[in-house]
């Protein structure tokens, strides 16, 4: 806390505050609202899980046999990987394509989400506008990415265009939420001080809002990049977006070649782990800076 202006006597207010706090603590019983909520939630989840196991569509699958077969398959995948239908360099290029898809959607998403996020933050925009944008974004987020891609595929045809636009939609909605929440954490005094000195909206945004939340924005954006890489793999498999996901789909659905799936999985795993390590590093560095 910074001491500014003449010192006032807060004793009465402080007393009242402490008193309230004490009363609140004393009133907490073992069966408070939160512990009831936790118990109900836990019991409900257990009940639903048991019900789910009873109502599953088992389709005469012999569980033990299938489990052993899965273990055998996993062994083949991870211990005897090979590339049969395409070369190593082709696989490497396809990984790059998938990374490219993830990068494009993240960049497009971040740029649009920055603008919308500014308009959605209550403290620098108006309340009705913020409510409208946040509501729309929640609705967009509720639709799974693959459905967005398939919906755009009707207009643009299956391929990278539909994939990028569909994935960008989801990235925007995710990042608008993250950005606007970090903008709203900004101290009100900073905005008021700039307004009092006659700064216009853009100046407030660039001098106070963005500099104070840039660390959050970077780590959220990179997290989204990580997610988008996984999504891009899935879109290659489910929506013909190309990249390593499509090769995976071919290996699984057409060639039934487990060893090739294993090799592709290694490619995906290595990239994903690299991204995760990189993200943790960035987060640590930003924490030190701020």
């Amino acid at each position: 806390m910074q001491a500014e202006g003449p010192i006032k006597t807060f004793s009465l207010q402080t007393d009242k505050f402490l008193d309230n706090q004490l009363r609140e603590r004393l009133s907490k019983k073992p069966f408070s609202k939160s512990s009831i909520a936790i118990r109900t939630c836990g019991l409900l989840l257990i009940f639903l899980t048991i019900y789910a196991f009873i109502s599953f569509d088992y389709k005469d699958v012999n569980f033990i046999d299938a489990l052993l077969l899965t273990l055998d398959n996993l062994g083949k995948m991870f211990f005897e990987p090979h590339l049969k239908h395409f070369s190593f360099s082709h696989a490497l290029f396809q990984v790059l394509v998938t990374l490219g898809l993830a990068f494009l959607t993240t960049i497009f998403g971040a740029i649009i989400a920055l603008l919308l996020g500014l308009l959605a933050a209550e403290n620098i925009s108006s309340k009705p506008l913020s409510v409208v944008i946040k509501g729309t974004v929640a609705l967009i987020r509720a639709v799974p990415t693959v459905l967005w891609v398939l919906i755009f595929a009707v207009a643009a045809g299956l391929g990278s265009v539909a994939a990028v636009i569909g994935m960008t939609f989801h990235s925007i909605s995710y990042l608008v939420k993250a950005y606007s929440e970090s903008f709203e954490e900004l101290d009100k005094g900073a905005i008021e001080a700039l307004q009092a000195s006659g700064a216009n909206w853009w100046q407030i945004v660039f001098q106070a809002v963005i500099p104070s939340s840039i660390t959050y924005m970077v780590s959220w954006t990179f997290l989204r990049f990580e997610i988008n890489f996984a999504v891009a793999v899935a879109m290659g498999a489910a929506a013909g977006a190309g990249g390593i996901g499509f090769d995976m789909f071919m290996a699984s659905g057409f060639y039934f070649d487990l060893r090739e799936i294993g090799a592709i999985t290694y490619f995906i795993l290595i990239v994903a782990i690299c991204l995760e390590i990189f993200a943790t590093r960035i987060k640590k560095k930003l924490k030190v800076l701020s």
Partner: protein, 261 residues
């Protein structure tokens, strides 16, 4: 001196911008993304959606079938998350720096979690399809493995963050390992963990759609069926039911989070 700092800052941000710009152009080239087509396809898609993508009276007849599939998908997502959460908690206790038994088990459990987390559910579902076929198990295990990896990471972070000092205090009184876990770690982390589990259920319902598309089961398959046969009115009804169920679950989990955290 200060002028230097500003110049350096400007140089750095310009460099960063340049790198991002080059990476964008390279990505556009290798993915064969068409900028103009991308921009024009948005209004085209909106126009198409307004004229085709809404449920009609006839499609409402399919609603009971859709709801049965939706219920199945919701139950699979919930069951996969809760069972994964229990397993993830055990791994998190072994892998966390505050509560690990020894370094060896710590790194093993963290390593397993890293591998499970970074193999996407789409990959799991394609692999499991070989052995479990089009039964509920395929979707269940695909979601289970993905949730397990993610929740282990989340729980490890929670345990490290929340229960460091109370674990130390209990260890100082001579409490044994299981007492420390049951009296300190679980009570102090359970609100955070429930919050993560609820988040994972939300994510899993979205992922279940994708898994269903790939493996031919659940609500994803229903959507694909009507989408591929060009019955867009029924497909839109499927999308609407998914939206409503996800918004409901988001609402419930936001409420629970407000109460418990």
């Amino acid at each position: 001196m200060s002028a230097d700092v500003f110049a350096k800052k400007r140089r750095n941000s310009l460099l960063l911008l340049l790198i991002v710009g080059v990476a964008t152009i390279v990505s556009i080239i290798i993915t064969e993304y068409n900028m103009a087509k991308g921009f024009t396809s948005v209004p085209k898609a909106v126009q198409w959606a307004l004229s085709n993508f809404y449920p009609t009276k006839d499609s409402l007849a399919k609603l009971p079938d859709i709801l049965v599939k939706l219920k199945e998908t919701l139950l699979i997502s919930i069951a996969a998350t809760t069972v994964a959460a229990v397993l993830a908690f055990i791994f998190a206790v072994l892998g966390s720096n505050t509560t690990k038994v020894n370094r060896f088990f710590g790194s093993i459990s963290r390593g397993i979690a890293i591998i499970f987390r970074n193999i996407d559910v789409s990959v799991w579902s394609m692999v499991l399809l070989f052995s479990f076929g089009q039964s509920s198990f395929t979707g269940y295990f695909a979601l289970f493995f993905g949730s397990f990896g993610f929740l282990t990471r989340a729980f490890i972070e929670t345990i490290d963050e929340v229960s460091g000092s109370s674990v130390e205090a209990l260890q100082a009184t001579g409490a044994n390992y299981l007492t420390v876990i049951s009296q300190s770690v679980i009570p102090s982390t359970i609100p955070q963990m429930i919050s993560w589990v609820l988040f994972m259920i939300e994510t899993n319902i979205r992922n279940a759609t994708l898994v269903g598309l790939l493996t031919g089961s659940g609500i994803g398959f229903t959507f694909n069926l009507y989408y591929k046969s060009l019955n867009y009115d029924i497909a839109s009804l499927v999308v609407i039911t998914i939206i409503i169920s996800i918004l409901c679950i988001e609402f419930i989990s936001n409420y629970v989070r407000r109460v418990i955290l």
